[in-house]
């Protein structure tokens, strides 16, 4: 393809090229909104039908880990936005620094997600044959405070009185929890790959005030993934905390 510097032959100016690329990314993000939207739809319908089981499932999540992760992700959006700014004003070294910071914060997010998933495996909260919402209270470890376990057991018994099929319906919650956070994490992994590609480019000094389209476009994607989490955090972690 004919190309002058970073300008491809079918565009008149770099400005026009950048606007076209941004528009294309936005159109892709519309499809992503509807992709995640289908999951949010499924979540809403099942939560209306099985609110007791969804409350029980939600309260097993660790609010501190979830809260810290939300903070890390918002921080990574800030560093991503700052990477775009650094490219626009021509501070080449800062571009690399902010991109690396974004990648680091994203990796911390994924690491915390691993810890959270591991806890769910330990507590038999993976949908399937061995799923048991009572497992943790029946088999407390040294780390579990007996008073906390007593409160949790009482709440579970109340929930079972309201919904005798609690075990089946809580599996629906956890299927959606793993499906939605898993798809979100997959987007983060793709984002991390894109960031590595950007960091390599930034080391070569590729991003300048005249040409920074890749940073801008990956930024749009990264902020979108942040927005998905902004909705996932209250809907998965915080739905039944006010008892």
């Amino acid at each position: 393809m004919h190309r002058t510097g970073e300008l491809y032959g079918h565009f008149q100016t770099l400005e026009q090229q950048k606007e076209s690329a941004a528009l294309g990314m936005w159109v892709f993000l519309v499809t992503e909104v509807l992709f995640f939207g289908g999951l949010f739809m499924t979540y809403t319908i099942n939560r209306q039908a099985f609110s007791t089981a969804f409350g029980v499932g939600s309260n097993t999540l660790d609010i501190e880990l979830g809260g810290f992760n939300t903070a890390f992700l918002i921080m990574s959006s800030l560093t991503m936005a700052m990477a775009v700014w650094s490219a626009q004003v021509g501070k080449k070294q800062l571009v690399s620094i902010f991109l690396i910071a974004t990648l680091a914060l994203g990796t911390v997010f994924l690491g915390i997600k691993v810890i959270e998933y591991k806890q769910k495996f330990d507590h038999h909260l993976i949908p399937g044959h061995d799923f048991d919402v009572m497992y943790r209270t029946a088999h407390p470890t040294a780390a579990d405070k007996p008073s906390d376990m007593a409160v949790e057991k009482e709440e579970l018994e109340k929930a079972f009185a309201k919904d005798p099929d609690l075990n089946a319906h809580a599996q629906l919650y956890f299927s959606l929890y793993f499906g939605m956070t898993g798809l979100h994490a997959l987007h983060m992994i793709v984002g991390a790959g894109l960031l590595i590609w950007l960091i390599k480019g930034s080391f070569k000094g590729r991003f300048t005030p005249q040409y920074n389209t890749p940073v801008e476009i990956v930024g749009l994607y990264w902020h979108f993934v942040d927005i998905v989490w902004i909705y996932l955090f209250p809907l998965l972690y915080l739905i039944d905390r006010h008892r």
Binding site: G67, G219, I227, I230
Partner: protein, 91 residues
């Protein structure tokens, strides 16, 4: 037409608002507002999402055809949610 550069000061202010919004969401979740808990949680989340779209994603400084694409995504999402839920809730 030259591109609009958003200053770091605005980015930091948006970041602080998002953090405050997160704190507010957690605070509100531990209080009982009856059926309004979910309304409050979604309102705060939508406010945060709007800040991200307008400033971090530069929508405020984008051409009008980009605005059209953003509004259309919300519109199609609303069609899916409203029509499906009005079916489920009236069975």
């Amino acid at each position: 037409m030259s591109e609009h550069i958003v200053s770091p000061k605005i980015y930091v202010m948006i970041f602080l608002s998002l953090m405050a919004g997160t704190g507010l969401t957690v605070w509100a979740a531990f209080r009982n507002f009856g059926p309004f808990n979910i309304v409050i949680a979604l309102a705060i989340a939508s406010f945060k999402a709007t800040l991200v779209v307008l400033y971090f994603m530069h929508a405020r400084y984008s051409p009008r055809r980009t605005h059209l694409v953003i509004v259309s995504s919300v519109f199609w999402l609303a069609i899916m949610l409203v029509l499906t839920l009005s079916d489920y809730n009236t069975r």
